[in-house]
Symmetry: C2
Subunit: 137 residues, 2 copies
């Protein structure tokens, strides 16, 4: 099972390591596409596009269905979820950084609030009568 | 910028497409390792392990520091965060599935609770005196 998952992750990450293939998956996220529709945005032969599609298919990222003379492809999200699970183990590393950033911003906000409150305390009458201030202007 | 990110994702996903390299990153998640320490768990030559380390280095996933005659490696989480962000776009596909599963389980639970409540209503006295029931046994 682990062996299967390992080799699946190998083929999935390998398939994702190419911008053309990632763009094809992006197109399939909007719905089913024929092979020609998938190949269309790229300045490459249908044969070259077809090779990329085969790599995605081998990784289990897409499923191809032949209807008449047309090949229809659709996204299979499972292997992307596996890749996501693998990466999730490392999430703490960037979460820790974001937590530190968050803490610093909160501290800065708290400091700003304190100094604003001090200012408000100095000009309490003005703050209580905004209509009069508007009238003054 | 987009071009840079695209080529960075290419090298990052390519680097992740190999079980040895993923295991090396896993070891580095626990802290700094020397090149020999990273190579140690694998039945391969130091030269072969070194090639894998270079792939990780080129992808920006690890940083190597030379101290005296020893090369020390540490994990750089940024590129993993980029890969994670790319995958996050597809998260809705497996979240949708999990939401459906969650809804079905809640419906099942709700059904079970209703039938349990009906049972409790039938045997209210027993439920209120568990000690007596235990005594009976």
């Amino acid at each position: 099972m682990v062996e299967f998952q390992t080799s699946q992750l190998d083929t999935v990450f390998h398939a994702l390591g190419d911008a053309t293939r990632r763009q094809m998956l992006h197109a399939l996220a909007d719905g089913e596409r024929t092979v020609s529709e998938l190949a269309d945005p790229f300045s490459m032969s249908l044969a070259a596009a077809s090779k990329h599609i085969k790599v995605l298919e081998r990784a289990g990222l897409i499923r191809r269905e032949v209807r008449g003379r047309t090949h229809h492809c659709r996204l299979v999200p499972g292997p992307l979820a596996s890749a996501n699970r693998w990466l999730a183990y490392y999430e703490r590393f960037w979460t820790e950084r974001l937590d530190t950033l968050d803490r610093l911003l909160r501290e800065e906000d708290a400091g700003r609030l304190t100094s604003e409150r001090e200012k408000t305390d100095d000009s309490d009458t003005d703050a209580e009568q905004p209509s009069r201030r508007r009238g003054d202007a």
